[in-house]
Subunit: 483 residues, 3 copies
């Protein structure tokens, strides 16, 4: 066997103890072939509408993936050499970027990025070598050749991946034309649904707040020069999204505060924000009020509200100026969920039509805040690990931190949160293996009956996210009755 030979091991991510691994294998078997439900992610819907071939290995694996870019940047690679902030790379530059990845590939050992990409190399592209300077060109060529085939176009992969629901992330002023076209396209049977992501329209401190609210008004056919008009415009755009298949809204502010203002204060501060004269503290207060309004609207229109606050975006100004956002310079902050969402939960937390999923990249709140909240409020679910902590040990820490308070039934199911289309099955597969890992250990330690673990394994990939995100039940559900 060549020293370059490599395929992912079928037992990867399962426990090492032979007896426990055997239990884990059985639980994983119950999950492995279930469909993929992806209620939150960042794939562009035009990818599936246009169904154009992927351009080349670099634009597929490197340029848009800030997990991959950031580690290379920290090791001295220029972001521009990876295609970041540039248009499409030509063949030579694309291959050069690929060789850079190969050269640094050893530094990704043990990271989820490497696990995902090696899963893709093997399961999607059928490769059986490890990426290295020695194999880089051959692997590049092999992938490039595959990408030219019809069965590697996005729609074919969508079907092959077993994706049943794929949610995108969309601007409130978006007309959702790609979603409409996809829904009307009889040749495409998947479900690609939008998600309402109004973050920037809720940030009164932004210098472009007037322009943003103007655009919102235009999209909604409302005069947004006042708070009341803005609110009505939001309500209409949410309904527009819901009418186009959306099941959720997504919110990521610096904190999860939801304190309401007296309405006259909200009206006054909104005008100041439009004029660009709002004070920093008032802008924060108004933003929290506007988020609380989103919760009220959610109780009306039934869209599930996902929160993932507390990231300091664009930590380095120079990088932001050169390359823009989303290039790996967003760094997590501590979060205070308990006080942050208290006003919102006192307002609508017992409303049967309201539902929220709390995500975090501050692990300290799993056992301290999120599980205690999700274990008492019927409207609250504990979100899966996200972003930096969408990784094997972190996912196990999450299950071990929350399931002692809330079991599995008050958790969101797995969320891939990715813009890397081909990594979707790898990520869901990793999550299933880790749930099998966690559950098998509970069984082996006689903390859970095998029957209960098996029922959870049956329900967690498909039934659980459908229930949490109010998606229609699958006709093909294989879930056992859990009673």
């Amino acid at each position: 066997m060549s020293k370059d030979a490599y395929t992912p091991h079928p037992d990867r991510l399962l426990p090492t103890d032979p007896a426990v691994r055997e239990i884990a294998r059985g639980l994983y078997e119950r999950m492995r072939d279930q469909p993929i439900i992806s209620p939150h992610g960042h794939v562009d819907p035009r990818l599936l509408l246009d169904d154009e071939p992927f351009r080349d290995p670099t634009s597929l694996f490197i340029t848009p993936d800030h997990y991959v870019n950031r580690l290379m940047f920290s090791r001295g690679v220029d972001l521009a050499d990876l295609g970041v902030g540039r248009g499409p790379l030509d063949e030579a530059d694309s291959r050069t970027a690929w060789r850079l990845l190969a050269e640094h590939w050893h530094a990704y050992a043990g990271t989820p990025s490497r696990l995902w990409i090696e899963h893709e190399f093997h399961e999607v592209f059928g490769l059986e070598t490890v990426l290295s300077p020695a194999t880089a060109d051959d692997m590049y060529d092999a992938i490039a050749e595959k990408l030219s085939r019809p069965e590697f176009r996005p729609r074919a992969l969508f079907e092959r991946f077993g994706i049943q629901v794929l949610a995108t992330t969309d601007d409130p002023v978006d007309d959702l034309a790609p979603h409409t076209a996809l829904a009307e396209d009889a040749s495409f049977t998947g479900s690609v649904i939008p998600t309402f992501r109004p973050d920037k329209y809720l940030e009164p401190a932004r210098p472009d707040f007037r322009e943003l609210t103007e655009a919102l008004g235009e999209a909604a056919g409302e005069d947004t020069s006042t708070y009341d008009g803005y609110t009505e415009a939001m309500r209409r755009r949410r309904l527009y999204f819901r009418d186009h298949g959306a099941v959720s809204t997504d919110h990521a502010h610096t904190d999860p505060g939801t304190t309401r203002l007296p309405v006259e204060d909200a009206r006054r501060l909104y005008l100041q924000a439009r004029e660009g004269s709002i004070a920093a503290a008032d802008a924060t207060a108004l933003r929290r009020h506007l988020l609380a309004d989103q919760a009220r609207m959610a109780a009306d229109d039934g869209l599930v509200m996902t929160l993932h606050p507390a990231v300091l975006r664009n930590h380095h100004q120079g990088i932001f100026d050169s390359f823009g956002p989303d290039v790996g310079f967003d760094i997590p902050l501590p979060v205070d969920y308990v006080r942050g969402v208290q006003p919102m939960l006192n307002d609508v937390g017992l409303d049967p039509n309201f539902r929220t999923v709390l995500f975090t990249i501050d692990e300290t709140v799993f056992s301290r805040e999120i599980a205690p909240l999700a274990g008492v409020y019927p409207s609250v679910y504990a979100g899966a690990p996200w972003w930096f902590i969408d990784a094997p040990d972190a996912i196990l820490r999450y299950r071990r931190a929350v399931s002692e308070t809330i079991g599995y039934s008050r958790t969101s199911g797995f969320i891939d949160d990715t813009r890397a289309f081909c990594s979707i099955p790898a990520r869901h597969d990793m999550a299933r293996r880790l749930d099998a890992n966690h559950l098998s250990t509970l069984v082996a330690e006689h903390r859970m009956r095998h029957e209960d673990a098996a029922a959870i394994a049956e329900s967690v990939p498909d039934q659980q996210p459908r229930e949490v995100f109010k998606l229609p039940s699958a006709g093909t559900s294989t879930g056992e009755d859990q009673s």
Copy 2:
């Protein structure tokens, strides 16, 4: 074997590796049959004084247990249907509540509540089936039948459980008549001791602060219209408790601040608090001063001071208005112990008569704050995991976080903190199994000699809490010399 058959596995909660499990079994054997010392809990002393039979399975297992209720509530069950906020349920409603638990029982898989209750089903009531809709009525009937027998009355169970010391939690104005009567009852040989819990009398922001302090004064025979009278009343009531067997006081405020005020400020603010005119910040400052006073009194009277701060109580106002406190809506907050207790420890932290035990439900302080403090101040002990984190993985995280700094000798021993009388042996048994788990892994990794692990196992259930809580040594101690 029927598919409903189920009994807890004798090796539950021990490590999965066969060689390590063998070590763990041996260590657990040294702990299993030791008596139960319960230096903090919420059992009503009248339960043992009156020795009435338990009413029915629902009032025993469901209604008073907010761990159980809160998860069902989050899954859509009305608290009232579980008996919360109502008087005793009639037979039909009690059975209906029981069937609700059976219906949702699968959602408790992996939680400590389920482990405790299944322990009780088997070890206390001799049941050998799993709770489910199919078995609910039979199990209800079997438990109800047992409850009518003399050997299932509280005193009989107290003896059968091997409880040697049971501390209750009591109001400072309580006359402790049940404790006195129990102590004088020659037919009852157990030790049921009160605990002084003055929280509400230390909260100057409460609207009923005047009424509370009046009641305190009446109980103490002191005029509490001034700070000095209040302080003297506190001192007297603490002595009254100590004279009735109390060994500790318990304190749970929003933060563990203990900054002292100049006495003239304390006097002035106390008057304002009595008049209801104290400002919020001043009320907090006075509360911290009053807690610091409790520490001084503790250095005088020798009562051990247990702290478990940083919980946001009654997170939802509507639930509080309908059902009152302690129904599952208390959510943990981050805690700052290092600065909080610094004034108190500078004041009395080296006093040989002073002792404090620091509990938390914010796990981040175990390695960062509590272990470093308990590993240097002779007066400070690290409290066992409490409340949401009284659970297998959390308990192991605690041992792994603190024992590298302070071993076992600076920890409190297990605290069940429960109002569910029948769960006491289940909880202590879980803690013993988990200590065996932790210690056996250290032995197997050659990080601790087996002899040392065995000596710790001998001492941790009985000798350790007796020493920390200044309880008289057991005549029946089986502990080996640790030298």
Copy 3:
């Protein structure tokens, strides 16, 4: 075999599963005999310059080791009885202190201090018994006898330990004469380099700030009566240190804030600080500015900047008054790295000449802050666990928390941070065993190829710290090419 017989197990700290342990053994073999690189510690350079025999077992193992003293103090032993705050102990008192350690030795079971010291007993002194009251005197005598031999003098041990680089910690005004003498001593071939530790000169709130800055000015030959003179003095002293072999500076303030002030404000506040009239908030602001200045100087002179903020020093005033600093009363605080170092990283974080290593004893920032920062900024490395968390479980938590984001290549390598010279090999050995433990588990779970784990094992003890701390490459490197 006597019941007192004891030697550390060759497989200690490796995983318990037999198959995983076998992998771990192989990885550990690759690290075991590599040289020791110690880029940060507190050994006195005169120890090696003078090469006097160690005085006695107590002054070697007890008196200067606050890890050891603090736990005994918490158990009721007087610090003075351990020699703290006194001159050298006479033979009787030294032996008495040793017997105290023996008496309390069981309480250290499971702590790293005990693991280190038992390693030293066996590997350095060849003892084969466990410390206890029964063996105390014999072990004392055996060690004392060894200490009188030439092969137990510091230089002989330095060579035997395989130390290639040992960094000390030094005051900016130090003339580094011992370092110079050592470097010029042809009979000593080791590398003992200074570290620039300017903490106290950056604390404008200190009452002795004027005296300190005067002394700094004198050492530098600069007039430090102004901010500009002070800055120039700092620059010169840093260069002096660099010219004497220093590769890094070390900084430990209450927070890692690095916000710059307008230079005129810095000048004005500096004068106020010199006069002792600076307000507390201004002193904090100036300290953060001065730390930001150190970062700028680091970008100029290339010295690596190590940060380990957020410790509340001298928690008990009475102990400080009696025994001074560094006796175990420093307690960790939460740290905010993300906002703290943002100004500094925006200023020089992309400068190829700037490098910083972020240490913490607040474990919550490993996955939330440090790994995300080290995984994108080329200048940032994640520091190894330090101080209270330089312990087996904590080190494994660190690797599991950071390596999913940054692998091993963005981490500092092991730092012993010790003043206990004889514990240096024990600490490095522990770290190597734990890295083998972590890596072997990744291999056994098929999360990392064995080849990649082996390459990391080869590089982590020697090559990694040399690279991070800009030390010259070893001629004797055994590292494989990682490509």
